[in-house]
Each structure stands twice: as C-alpha cells, then as structure tokens.
C-alpha cells in the first residue's frame, strides 16, 4: 500500500541528488555542498568567460505552467553557463487544468529526449508528480509548486545569508508576511532549521501565519516588534494583491502599518541585520523604499546568487542522475 518515502525520490542510491524537489528531508551535508559549489560558481561569474562544460550536450527544458520572468531567466542563464541547450516553454493551464494535459505534455517532451525539466506549476506536489511519472532518466528541478516548495529560491537565500553572516549557528531570522500562501517560506524554514538556525520567527497576522507552522520548529509572532527584536536577518515576503481584497487582510495600509518593513521597524533588529526579499517588491506595501534601497538591503545580491545556486543544483542533479543511470545499468548487467 505504501510506497517508499517520497523524499527519497530525489536521491540516488549513493545519497546524491538526482531530482531537486524539496528541501524537506535533505541533510546539512547536501545543503552545504550546494552552497559551496554555488560559491565557486559565483567567483566564475566575475570572470570574462562565464561558461563551464558541465552540462554540454544536455537539453534542459524550462517548463513553466505559471508565469515567472525572473526565475525562468535565472534558470536559463544558469543552464547556459553550464553549456546546456535550453528550451523555454510557457504553458497556460487555465483551459485544461486536469492531469491529462500535464501528462500528455510530459510524454511529448520526453519523446524529444530531454535530460532535465525545470518545472513551475500552480499545484502543490506537481514536481513530485512529474518525477514519478517521467521516464527515470530525466532530472526534475522544482522551480516552485503551488504553496509547497521553492527550493532553489530558499537555497539562494541561504547563500546570501552565509556570504553576509559567515555561518548559520546562532543566527536569529524573521520571515514576515504571507507565510500561508508562500512556498518560499516553507522551503526557507526547512533550509534554516537544517543548517543550524535555532531561532526562526514567522511574523504576521493569524490569517497569514497558521499555528501549525510551530510544528516545523519555528516561533510564531503576531507582533512586528517582538518578531524583529534582535534578529540578524529579516526576510520580507511578497504580498499578492489579490490577498488584500478578500477576508485575509483589511487593507494594504493596515498591513503596512502593522507589518511593513520601515526604518523604524528595522531599528528593532540588530544594527547589522540584512534585509532580504524574493522579489518583486511592493514598495509601500510590505517594505518602504528607504529600506529597500538602503545598504542593509541585499535584494539584488539575491538575484546574482540565484544564478550560482541554480548552476550548482542543475549540475549536481545531472551528475546524480547520470550516476544513477550508469549504476542501474551496472546492476542489470
């Protein structure tokens, strides 16, 4: 009745990545390896020749069922810097949201002998679904599935924190805003707790921060001053416009008043606290322009780091996938 733990789905028999679906279940060693490798790619980005041949001859398909310019572009750049051939496919799912179209699409793409799918989809679990229903020699990279996970975003945030703060132990990190609908926050919580951050705070009203998150090892704060008190890192989440017209929040202005990151709010954090945001930012809704443009903000560093982290994840997953295929053949022979 039960299959094996799906978190094992993304690892080969040597414990190496062969897909990258979620940070849930990945250990500190793997996360650190991703960060180390991304660091080495970062220094490469500063050189005039930015390409390495790690994915030469491989075909990477960016399969976006949900619109995203920034994430898609950085994945594309990452794959190209690894010398892969890249195809971008934007597939609107509004007409046929059922599984038929998704499965049919996948089978067509498999027939084109792609090696890797970078997938964004509005359903939680879509990347797992694709990893389970694809031929075994295609690596699946989750570029965001519903509210569930956005593991490369969380890892680029970890890289940004490590490059600014040196290490994770002893840090205090606040994540502020719409945690309920955020796949970024879910992946960040897994990453932070795995890498050794003991004080992770989730800040927002009860409508956006369900109490169940406490079970993940985070502390829930409904008050901004308590949430930001003495923290080293402030992560602001994007507040989607549509959330503000319903019953979740009374208005933009009330949210900004209570949970917006103003200079005053930032003064509650440590003097050297950094400010992060997965972008794109809503100035005057979750963050003030002064803070967003200040030297405390590392929002643009995050974008640069995003390319390096995605290069690391793509190359590691491909090599794990290739090893698996070779190992699998070896066993059969």
């Amino acid at each position: 009745m039960m299959r094996s733990d799906p978190r094992a789905l993304q690892l080969n028999e040597h414990g190496q990545l062969k897909h990258f679906l979620t940070l849930d279940g990945l250990n500190k060693t793997i996360l650190t390896e991703i960060l180390d490798r991304a660091d080495s790619f970062l220094s490469m980005g500063e050189q005039s020749v930015k390409k390495v041949p790690l994915l030469r001859g491989k075909t990477v398909v960016n399969l976006f069922f949900e619109n995203s310019t920034r994430t898609r572009t950085t994945f594309e750049l990452a794959a190209k810097r690894l010398s892969a051939d890249v195809i971008n496919l934007n597939i609107e799912t509004s007409a046929t949201s059922k599984g038929e179209s998704l499965l049919d699409t996948l089978q067509n793409l498999e027939a084109m002998q792609s090696d890797m799918f970078v997938v964004r989809h509005s359903d939680s679990g879509a990347a797992h679904f694709i990893a389970e229903h694809c031929t075994p020699n295609v690596a699946i990279i989750n570029a965001g599935d519903g509210r569930h996970a956005h593991p490369t975003q969380a890892m680029l945030d970890m890289l940004t924190i490590r490059r600014n703060k040196g290490q994770f132990e002893g840090l205090k990190v606040a994540i502020v805003g719409d945690i309920l609908h955020s796949r970024v926050a879910r992946s960040q919580i897994h990453a932070l707790t795995t890498l050794g951050v003991e004080d992770v705070r989730l800040v927002g009203p009860k409508t956006l921060v369900p109490s169940y998150f406490a079970d993940l090892g985070a502390t829930i704060c409904h008050d901004m001053s308590a949430g930001l008190d003495d923290v080293d890192v402030v992560v602001m989440l994007r507040l989607q416009k549509e959330r503000m017209s319903g019953a979740l929040l009374p208005s933009e202005s009330e949210f900004y008043r209570l949970y917006g990151l103003t200079e005053e709010a930032l003064s509650w954090a440590k003097p050297d606290a950094i400010v992060m945001h997965p972008g794109p930012i809503n100035r005057g809704v979750e963050i003030s322009s002064e803070v967003a443009d200040s030297d405390r903000s590392v929002i643009l560093d995050q974008v640069t780091n995003g390319i390096a982290v995605r290069m690391a994840v793509l190359s590691m997953s491909m090599s794990g996938q290739v090893q698996e295929q070779q190992g699998g053949l070896g066993v059969e022979a």
């Binding site: 599984g99 679990g125 599935d145 519903g146």
Partner: protein
Amino acid sequence: MKLRIINGRVIDPSQDLDATIDLFIDDHKVVGLGEVPDGFEEAEVIDAGGQWVLPGLVDVAVALREPGYTQKGNIATEGRAAISGGVTTLVCPPDTNPIVDTPAVAALIQDKADQAGMVNVFPIGALTQGLEGGHLSNMVALTDAGCVALSNHRRPMRNTLVLSRALEYAATHDLLVVFHPDESSLSEGGCAHEGMMSTIHGLAGIPETAETIALMRDLLLIEKTGVRAHFARLSCAKSVEMIADAQASGLPVTADVALHNLLLTDEVLNEFDGQFHVIPPLRGENDRLTLIEGIKQGAISAICSDHQPHEKMAKIAPFAATEPGMANVEILLPLALQLMDEGDLSLTDVLKTLTSGPASCFGLEAGSLKPGSFADFILFDSTQSWTWSDDVRRSKGHNSAFDGIELTGRVTQTYVSGQCIYSFSG
C-alpha cells in the same frame, strides 16, 4: 427451494448469535437456525466447510456512476464488484447525471440493477431539484419510486431557509433525510485535512469546523422540524461527540463513517498521492480513534465503503487536481476486519456496523438472519490470505489506495433471497 447450510459458523449480531449451527432456508427466506423446522426437508445441502455464514453486507454508500458517468463505472460492473465483496444490499447516492430528482431516474437505476440480477439497490433521491439547493424535489414521488431517503449530497443549499423548509416538508411525510455536514464556504477549494500535514505540504486545508458548524446547524433544524435524519461520512472527533450528545438528548439521528477514515490519517499526505484524496478528508489520529470509539459506544452505527470508482486518468495528476474518492467495495469485509487490530473493535462490533447497523439506519429489511428475514447471506473464508490488486478487481474503478495490501479472509459465496449469485473460483 429448501436449502440447509451445514458446518458453518453462523455469526449474526442482530440476534447476538455466534455458533456452529445449521441455517434453514425456504422460499427466499430464513426459516430456522439450529433446530430443523417442523416438516422441513431440504432439497439441497450446502457444506460451508467451517467457513463463516454471515448476513449479506449492507453498504450505504456505493456510487454506481450510472446514468451519466459510465467511464467510471456502471450498474453491472459496480454491482458485480459489490456482490463479490459480499454486499447484498446497497444504497447509492443521487449525484448521477441526470440526478436522481425524478421517479424516472430512480426507476431506471433499479430496473438496471434488476436486469443485472444482482443486488438490492436503493437510491437516495435528491432533496432539491438538480441538487441545486433552491427548489424542493418531488420527495413523495421519489419515495414511491423506491428512494429510501433524500439528500442534497455534498452540494450546498441556497440558504438555511430552504434547508429548513425542505426538512419540514420531509418531516410532514415522515421521510428520512441524509446529511453530509459541510459548510461549503469553509471547505471550498480544500483537498486535505487542515492541519500540520496540509500546511507543510502547501495543500489547501478543509478545517474541522467545515463539518462541525454544518452539523450543529443541522442538529438544531432536526430538533425543530422533527425530521428523521442520518448523518453520512463523519470525519471529525467533535462530530462524534455532537452526535452522541444529540442521541442522548433523544434526537432520532444515526450516523455512518467511511472505512478509510477509520484506517488512515493525513500522515499519508507525505506521498502527494492522489489515491488518498477523499472528501471528507483523512484527518488526524485523534479523529480516527474517536470515530472508532463512536462505533464502540454506538453513536456511529454503520461503516460504509464510500465506493467511488474513477477512471485511471482521474487520479493521474497533482494531488489537488485529482478527483476525490476511493473504490473499495470489493474488500469491505476483510479490510474492516483489520479494525479488530487497528482499533480494538470486537468481531461483533465490526460485523454489526456492516449488516444490521446500516440496515436499521435506513429502515431496510436486510442485514439479519432471523427467521422470517430474506435469505441474503454470504460464506466467508476467514483464513484465506490474498493480495488486493488490479488483477482481481471487478470494479471499473482503478482508485484504491489499498492496492497491494495483504488481506486475510475472502467472501467465497454470496446468496440473495436464497439464490447463489456469486461464487469465488480460485
């Protein structure tokens, strides 16, 4: 035809019977147990060979998918699935296409079942026309056409006034109303129990209050209108307490639970496997244990399969995009018997909730082997081990979360009105 069933362990909770005695059948009915009835001369002897002899099972939730959704199942395939599982009486929901809101559709379903010659099929009629929650259906005509109860299934009523009127009208004619307690504004868009598991996995949750708020409203309206009521598919611990309290205060309400809600919890969401997508959702361990306790204490008197067959593609999608429901009517009995280990239920408790319990909820003459009852019974080999899989499945539905499970016990023969209509051949 006079039948004598020998060498069987006859277990019938309706008469507190568990003994190795003979069962005597004459002209479709049970005429005696143990002692040979006066003047009885059997035309045929059936040697049960030490197997259990049980009343035919009564399943109050088997979707036959016909008319309208025959890609998922039809009366012949799902009927055969039911009898191979030992179900001799079933109640089917009104959510066919067209909906069971006219006597013609109710009659069509029963005629097709008769033609298939298999089970006693009792439709539930729609409480409102088209299940749209606005206009009352022709409740009396539906009842005259064979509907055993009326329900708006899981579709919302337009407002509480329409619900109240519908219940008053049903009460006028002493009709049974089946409630699927659900406050749709709270459950809409949800696909899993609202809790830690759905939160971590980013699946839209269905809170417990979606069920309990509707249940409390329904109980107040039942009290006011005096309608006879049955609650279908309880999933929350609090619901069990509310039903028990209502019963203690003298309200004539009964309740059932789907077998999968007694065996599984939202722990299985880890897999993102759409086979576990059911409505109401699999909830927490405390809910599961309280539902089982509700059976022990008598607040819940029926376990059903909540059989909802689907075509293969309905489950091949990311979790939330799959269609909800499982198809397990064929393994209802051996799966339910696992509750003796999983939930510390007695054999009598399990069998009662599959036979006389559901029959009494719906006022059906079924689920008993008392003399005078219809001779609907099954032979069950309680020792046979087998694996549940696609290879043995009779239902058109490919959606059982229990595929590959090892089962102990198998229905080997099913009799309806003294006629053998199913016999397992190894």
